[in-house]
Subunit: 196 residues, 2 copies
């Protein structure tokens, strides 16, 4: 989050940012900002604030964003297809190198400079290209089975859009985006907003 705002500030030409300024942008407190950043090192200059570009570089290095990450998308349904063309990924250094599906009707359909590939090709492709990250956009009832396959193939980080809780071994990182659950959180907020 800090990185995002710092890039905004850099784009606007600011050379330094105080913890106060960052806190206002991020909706936290100055003390929180300072504690968070100090966890990774001492990046600020007293009296001045944090040097924007320098801090950006540090954060990008900490996050491991100084390289491009190849990513595969598994599932070429509506969501998978939308993600495959999502510019936000490439902008942030994530290069979608392949889209996979098991539906013969979808396999072979053109995508990017190539075409949608059969899920059977996932393992060899992943190994050949050293891909470590996958985005999962398959129906919930196949999700676990597909994850197992992906991990077998060498995937070590997964962003899961399927509305299913997945089990992965400890060396694999997993993040889930559950849109319906987010909506339910909003419904809760709405039903309780009137009586605070």
């Amino acid at each position: 989050m800090y990185l995002r705002y710092l890039e905004d500030l850099a784009a606007r030409g600011l050379a330094t940012a105080s913890s106060d300024a960052l806190a206002n942008l991020c909706g936290t407190t100055p003390a929180q900002v300072r504690k968070d950043l100090s966890f990774f090192g001492s990046f600020g200059k007293r009296g001045l604030g944090y040097p924007v570009q320098e801090l950006i570089d540090h954060l990008r290095e900490i996050l491991g964003l100084q390289q491009d990450w190849p990513v595969v998308i598994i599932g070429a349904g509506k969501i998978g297809a939308a993600l495959a063309d999502y510019r936000g990924f490439l902008q942030r250094g994530f290069r979608v190198v392949g889209v996979y599906d098991n539906d013969p009707a979808k396999v072979g359909r053109p995508w990017g400079g190539s075409h949608i590939r059969d899920i059977a090709a996932l393992a060899p492709d992943v190994r050949a290209q050293g891909v470590q990250m996958a985005v999962l956009a398959v129906p919930a009832d196949h999700a676990q089975q597909v994850v197992d396959l992906a991990i077998q193939a060498g995937i070590r980080a997964i962003l899961n859009f399927a509305p299913a809780q997945l089990a992965v071994p400890p060396h694999v990182s997993l993040k889930a985006v559950n849109m319906a659950m987010e909506m339910e959180g909003l419904a809760f907020a709405l039903t309780h907003a009137d009586a605070p």
Copy 2:
């Protein structure tokens, strides 16, 4: 999360679930489960566990899910269009009643039983149908302006897919889904996994 798993258990025909069982499913601890649930009331039976169906009903009421929520989707790009057809929403009681865009090339295009509508129609539609929830899937640089418009129209809860931090007044709930940021979290995990 508890609701999700309880529904699974109900579908499998289980009548009761212990905090231990729920904890295993959710990846937390029995004590956590009990504390969480006890915040809203005393739902369990000592010696037995929690009555599954009864707890489901309670949670649905707490979350405000006993009604269907009408939802509008703003932005008919790739992501917006995918969300408009996303079955997961309807399954969970969120009925997409309209899709809006400001691009004349998209406005009028068929969608569902109707068609994509002009953003100018948002305010009257929202008021007429009493819609309180919106999903935002527009480019980041228009997001704030569109949110302001939506709030003006009467929207009080927003699920934001645009990679932008939005400012909303206190009576409006906002949740953001930032896919690139999730990927960056995974990149961090990957770069630090090897040296624990």
